[in-house]
């Protein structure tokens, strides 16, 4: 792009189309574009720009949509976890921890499932049987058996996930539905399996 001042040596017809006050009569341009032709050019230019913008937006949208596949090869979010009597009262059960990252805890009243994701930054805490607490190795957050946080940087309790009894008498745990204590969601019947 060269600098083109309006007073450059180009003939009038080659000048960039910018709105300028009409030239004084003394400096009469050699060629005058007829109003009709100018309108035609402007309208086609508008159309071209709109078409260009639309196609660019479409291309960008296509690229963005491309990043979200229709099929995911991830483990299913809900799984069957055996029968309630398979779990000992007062114990934190770690049998599904490896595969689904969920602890199943049975109390006198019933069963709940805690998600093994630290509420600080998403590391995986461990259940320490001797100390009766969940402890996160990353930054030392600690949680009681209920999931309530009591030490370290974690700002809120561990999340519970949906748990219910299936038709075949087996526990069904659905990790896609989470319940947060600080939002009062642990009162939701779906977050606790009453026995």
């Amino acid at each position: 792009m060269t600098d083109q001042a309006p007073d450059s040596k180009l003939p009038e017809s080659k000048q960039p189309a910018v709105a300028r006050p009409a030239a004084p009569a003394a400096a009469k341009p050699a060629v005058v574009a007829s109003p009709a032709r100018r309108e035609f050019v402007v309208s086609w230019l508008k159309f071209a720009w709109i078409a260009f913008a639309a196609s660019t937006a479409t291309a960008l949208g296509t690229c963005l949509r491309f990043m979200y596949p229709n099929v995911l090869f991830e483990p299913k979010s809900s799984f069957k976890a055996g029968k309630p009597e398979d779990y000992e009262i007062g114990m934190v059960d770690v049998r599904w921890k490896e595969k689904y990252n969920v602890w199943v805890v049975r109390t006198v009243d019933g069963i709940y499932a805690l998600l093994g994701v630290c509420t600080h930054l998403g590391c995986t805490p461990s259940w320490l049987e001797n100390e009766q607490k969940f402890k996160c190795p990353c930054h030392g957050s600690g949680f009681y058996k209920s999931g309530i946080n009591f030490e370290g940087p974690a700002p809120r309790p561990l999340e519970r996930v949906a748990i219910r009894l299936g038709d075949d008498g087996q526990i069904v745990i659905d990790k896609s539905r989470k319940f947060q204590q600080e939002k009062g969601e642990w009162n939701n019947p779906d977050s606790f399996l009453t026995l």
């Binding site: 963005l64 990043m67 979200y68 596949p69 995911l72 090869f73 991830e74 930054l121 998403g122 590391c123 990353c138």
Partner: protein, 250 residues
């Protein structure tokens, strides 16, 4: 040099006269990356710390060592970790992997020092404001290169670093499904931004750091971000020349 092939490469002879000798250098991109005239201050180590030049040099070593690593590294859950370990044992000069790793740390340091020097010497002032902005983008891209490369060894450190890092993306305003304003974006009662459609998902290709995340980070680390960095570097260096060379002490 007298043949047509020689002339096509070097457009000036080299021995005819002083002018041709000078033009041989001046018309060659490799001989003439540096400007003809440099301010005395611009060549003073105490003023520039060579930090920008060092950043570029380290980047070049990273490109070379990185390309070499790509001949042995396979970005899959099955192979990634073992390929990195194997590089130490099965490959002559397996130290290339160490060179790449330490070079990455060095580049973060040199780029940061370069920014610090430019700031402290006031070299961001007009007419160089635009180049400062380009530089800030380059700093961010350097850190993104570091972040994406972090996952590739596929060990515990990598897994958790990226898990923690990508969890921050959840909280992006409007674009992360746990971020402020994301809940406002809905059509009727359909949420537009959820854990399967937010910015974190686009980065990981899934709901957690897994197979898809490893592949995406590999592509970003080896192709996408380097391309952006090379283009911006070209602009950055060109602007230095256009803005009157390395700035002088105030």
């Amino acid at each position: 040099m007298k043949t047509q092939v020689g002339k096509s490469m070097f457009r000036h002879g080299y021995s005819d006269d002083d002018r041709d000798r000078a033009m041989t250098v001046l018309t060659n991109v490799f001989f003439h990356l540096h400007p003809v005239k440099v301010r005395k201050s611009g060549a003073r180590f105490g003023f520039t710390w060579c930090a920008g030049g060092l950043s570029f040099f380290v980047f070049l070593t990273l490109v070379v060592s990185g390309i070499l690593l790509m001949f042995y590294y396979r970005p899959t859950v099955e192979y990634a970790y073992n390929d990195i370990i194997a590089m130490r044992e099965h490959v002559p000069f397996g130290i290339m992997r160490e060179l790449h790793r330490w070079g990455a740390h060095a580049m973060i340091i040199t780029v940061w020092l370069h920014m610090f020097r430019v700031f402290m010497t006031g070299s961001y002032k007009p007419p160089r404001e635009f180049n400062w902005v380009i530089g800030v983008i380059l700093l961010v891209l350097t850190m993104l290169l570091s972040f994406t490369g972090y996952l590739l060894p596929w060990d515990q450190l990598a897994m958790w670093a990226i898990t923690v890092g990508s969890n921050m993306a959840r909280a992006t305003p409007f674009l992360g499904h746990e971020g402020p304003g994301a809940a406002l974006l809905k059509l009727g009662d359909i949420q537009l931004i959820h854990s399967g459609s937010d910015v974190r998902f686009a980065l990981l290709g899934g709901h957690f750091v897994g197979e898809a995340a490893l592949l995406r980070f590999y592509i970003l680390h080896c192709v996408a971000i380097p391309v952006a960095v090379v283009i911006l570097m070209a602009v950055h260096f060109w602007r230095i020349r256009k803005d009157g060379g390395i700035s002088a002490p105030l």
